[in-house]
Symmetry: D3
Subunit: 245 residues, 6 copies
Amino acid sequence: MLLALATGAEIEAHLERSKTVVIPIGSNEQHGPTGLLGTDWLCPEIIAHEAQKTSDLLITPTFNIGMAQHHLDFPGTIALRPSTFMAAIGDWARSLAHHGFTRLYFLNGHGGNVATIEAAFSEMYAEASFAGRERGFACRLRNWWDLKGVMPLASRLFPTGHGSHATPSEIAVTQWAYPDSIKSANYAPQIAPTGPIREARDFRARYADGRMGSDPGQASPEKGGELVAKAVEGLIADVAAFSAA
Amino acid sequence: MLLALATGAEIEAHLERSKTVVIPIGSNEQHGPTGLLGTDWLCPEIIAHEAQKTSDLLITPTFNIGMAQHHLDFPGTIALRPSTFMAAIGDWARSLAHHGFTRLYFLNGHGGNVATIEAAFSEMYAEASFAGRERGFACRLRNWWDLKGVMPLASRLFPTGHGSHATPSEIAVTQWAYPDSIKSANYAPQIAPTGPIREARDFRARYADGRMGSDPGQASPEKGGELVAKAVEGLIADVAAFSAA
Amino acid sequence: MLLALATGAEIEAHLERSKTVVIPIGSNEQHGPTGLLGTDWLCPEIIAHEAQKTSDLLITPTFNIGMAQHHLDFPGTIALRPSTFMAAIGDWARSLAHHGFTRLYFLNGHGGNVATIEAAFSEMYAEASFAGRERGFACRLRNWWDLKGVMPLASRLFPTGHGSHATPSEIAVTQWAYPDSIKSANYAPQIAPTGPIREARDFRARYADGRMGSDPGQASPEKGGELVAKAVEGLIADVAAFSAA
Amino acid sequence: MLLALATGAEIEAHLERSKTVVIPIGSNEQHGPTGLLGTDWLCPEIIAHEAQKTSDLLITPTFNIGMAQHHLDFPGTIALRPSTFMAAIGDWARSLAHHGFTRLYFLNGHGGNVATIEAAFSEMYAEASFAGRERGFACRLRNWWDLKGVMPLASRLFPTGHGSHATPSEIAVTQWAYPDSIKSANYAPQIAPTGPIREARDFRARYADGRMGSDPGQASPEKGGELVAKAVEGLIADVAAFSAA
Amino acid sequence: MLLALATGAEIEAHLERSKTVVIPIGSNEQHGPTGLLGTDWLCPEIIAHEAQKTSDLLITPTFNIGMAQHHLDFPGTIALRPSTFMAAIGDWARSLAHHGFTRLYFLNGHGGNVATIEAAFSEMYAEASFAGRERGFACRLRNWWDLKGVMPLASRLFPTGHGSHATPSEIAVTQWAYPDSIKSANYAPQIAPTGPIREARDFRARYADGRMGSDPGQASPEKGGELVAKAVEGLIADVAAFSAA
Amino acid sequence: MLLALATGAEIEAHLERSKTVVIPIGSNEQHGPTGLLGTDWLCPEIIAHEAQKTSDLLITPTFNIGMAQHHLDFPGTIALRPSTFMAAIGDWARSLAHHGFTRLYFLNGHGGNVATIEAAFSEMYAEASFAGRERGFACRLRNWWDLKGVMPLASRLFPTGHGSHATPSEIAVTQWAYPDSIKSANYAPQIAPTGPIREARDFRARYADGRMGSDPGQASPEKGGELVAKAVEGLIADVAAFSAA
């Protein structure tokens, strides 16, 4: 069920069945010459929306802006400072906890979000610890590519040039879902360089067209469909395990 | 153009033509027995997405969580504290300004957001004022129902029982866009009570089923379509005026 | 009763009779060639102090600095950033609530304060909502010119050139209370221009002498006295209604 | 000159003569059975307003709420948390610095404010230090009772029972300025106990009627007048020295 | 060189040779029945201090309190909330950058710190990115057990029961450095359970004696000495590589 | 007992005997041509560690970075902004209070810390006061040179040229504890100038070699030993008095 397309009463009923909620979370940032700016929030949204068609998952609206400071020198990127990001995650979580949800599962689409989301969880836990609050509430972060079976499939589909930003995997997933928005370009070099992530000037100097280690030219909607199917399967199982933990 | 479905290069090109960007902004909160939780962010998103089909508007992803603290005792509501909301709006705006946008147009779908969004603008302007920054950057907030022609149409469509929360106007707009998610219920009373807005307990005590002054039973997808059409027209004109100001 | 000229015991006794307290709130900012820098906090202070002479209103010290960032390029203006302003309003309110006051009535003298004060209220309500606090505590914001009868009187006294900043109304009120501080100047143009409010540089560029839409030359102490009398009447009635709500 | 009763142009002219401004700062808090709640902000205001009658001092509006958390269990006290207080002092100071003032002289009326005001200065200096800003801007804090000659006079007027809160000195100053608000009560014991300052519960338990070490019964308007005269003299000299430093 | 035992002039001279500085960072938290509360800050301190004896590394004082909220229900733990931790890391880093250091190497001793330290780096980079600052400044986080050769050695020394908290590795390192503080106890079970980390109540319920997955009984000062030697070697090489990057 | 070299169980046992804990707190900042950068945190650490050898004092790790913004233009200084410093002190204190400590004794080594530490205490007390928390928790700040007998001894050892920064007293204490790190230099002038403390540029302009009013050339390890012995005696007595208060 998509929370945004439900009524409050339907959520109240869902809470009778389950205390778990899935929050797709990502980032809106440049993804190289052909990747969509929305890639990192579209991927978890696509997977989560697909998963709820065949399961009783409850999916919140997508948290679509994340920790993308290093991409700020490419137009279209929208970034939250980590402190802002943490405050917002905290308010989302406190709202959901207020309703009785005790298992918040964040399905993440952006590697750059990981540290800050984990720090946001710690901030909430710290609040509980200092207050001596009872146990029972838990958050989990899962990158969609870490769902069971996804990386093996990606490695099979893209044995070289997968990289870590503007990967053919994520581009393929958006191509599958948004076939009208498939872009093309020449890549030079075919596989982008790799290196560290620092601030925006440094990033643009190192990664001239925005990609990191990837050759997105290998993406196709069909491969995207395969990845989505695998991720959906993994998500449903992983959420079930988390709900039971 | 939808920013999320564009590449960084396409945004760079857009900036050659226009320094204006439209940010749909709303809230995810209970909307009575039949309104969708997403109503307040779906409405500006629907209108903005529709508008960019026939104009050169650039639409960012939707800012989908807002100042909804008073609805927190109804399940499904997700609320940002005003301080968090302001920090996040600030980071969105600073990101867009970083790219060279000088006109940020926030198309709002939630009355409860207005004060906080305006305060967020003032916070940004204050930053500029203390720093002695050059003039040239501007933000504008517009509620979609305040676009030219929309309220007259709403008054004609719903001469009584329009109210201010879970209004037949906003319900109709979502019905038009999401016909598969149309809900039904009996309303008792047919027109909900009105009164002040305070904290969540008080709100639920005053407005038992979550509506304020409205009779959403009057909504229909057709009326929603009329409202969207009128709003699209108003939006295109209003953004043009703002860009020129 | 003026809280600052009372003892703690006198406030304790007042709380037996009433849980309502009035907080004059304004701003210290340029008011054109002849307006006093204190105009926006002096006006609500003047009205509130006058009102407590003939009623049982309890008036706190005046909150004399507000959201005046746009006036910063005119000397003498003192401005709080919205985030600071909200924190301070919150601490005032929490202090008063700590004593048992449940109705905080903010009598405001500055239009630029409105959004931030409302956001500050929402921040406090959000704190209560997240904590699941009982209902019963309420804040109200009222601009003194929105008190019953004041604007009709102002329109009658100043049919043209009232404007929105450095208005003849507010200048007249301060002239009535501070006759030794009446200033004079030539206005060019007689009625100031109008337009949007952004940051300080933009404001000074648009409004060269600091006025917005007004002709303060029409002010007189007598007219000020009439306005004060009308506002006092409106205030006493409005506070009574709020206390009973 | 009182800044609040001046126009922006008058402040502009003052800046030609002097870059110094005096900010009366205090607290609104219980002052025992007979002391006014406003005592700690009224005293510096009284002295500063008096001083500007015979000198070219520029006096801002009074910062009337301070660090009074320990008095919160006595009705009428309004307290800012230190973090809020510091933010507000910072905004006042940044506003005044924006206009070109380089010497901010805070005339303080509340011992409990000292640490926080000094911390606020350090916060501003730290901002300058991290930014590598040029030297030239300075803040000074002076308690009015530390002005030259004041404590010797107080010791002579009140050889015993001066104490540190609700002192006969400060009560006398307000009696001189507000003769219509002189209160009376029996004190038991005549001289209040002394001890540490912690949080509000502890304070009320230790200091049942709110005084610390004082016998305010010794106050009189005449003694207040003597103290004001001495303080005015000291203030004018001290500000001159600071301006020249 | 230990920065704390040097003069400012010696640091000035060091900056002529190198722009790199090493910051030992850890946590002060319970480490099971026999581990020292300081284990997580002592380990990086021990290794860094040892390393500077035979190399030109500059070592700051140890950042000895970290993100330890989950250990708060065990006495002696001192924890910073992530937001506080980030602010403090930021101020340390800004101070060092102010002197001209461009490579800040954080040698970490606590797994629970990782996300927050990385988020703190992002916060600083974001500040630089929004400001459009030049590239050239970089932070690196390295856990001492991730230094080259350390985990292989640990696996050889402790093939089972290494675990993740109160590990025999870290206990051994402190035993080597503080032989007078070696403690003993019976462990039941010999190897502690594993599981997730949430807030303090949950942690103490899951991990009754505070260990996670470890058997610290295998530690010895000699093994500690071996680990330190290996870590020192790895540290010197890793810092050299970072300085050159 | 040194908390960092104890186990959680040992702290639990200590809490049976005493609810008091001593926190050495200082700063890491330039101390003139010959003073160690760590002087201000080393001194309280040295004294506290020495004291616990002959008494039942419990000593936490040293809070080694403080309010040192004015020294930032001398390399090696690491400074926390007051707001950061207060947040960190608050988290230390809340952690210790969580374990049941009710008397937190901060032994301070840096005059520049005083205002901010006191403000941090007030921030915590304010939290308690607004929440209506029970009395019983207390913090105390003591500069080591204000311990009984220390200043008289210092005045005898250094009748002139003691000064307030890089004093012969503090240098002597570090010389006694770190005889291998004794530095020498010519001082010109022999006794440094005195004056106000503002931001870093101003500080370096006024105090070219970093000293304030001092002649550190008079320090010797022997004098340091005398000072430590006197301070240890004073500390044990002062903590006992605080615990009993």
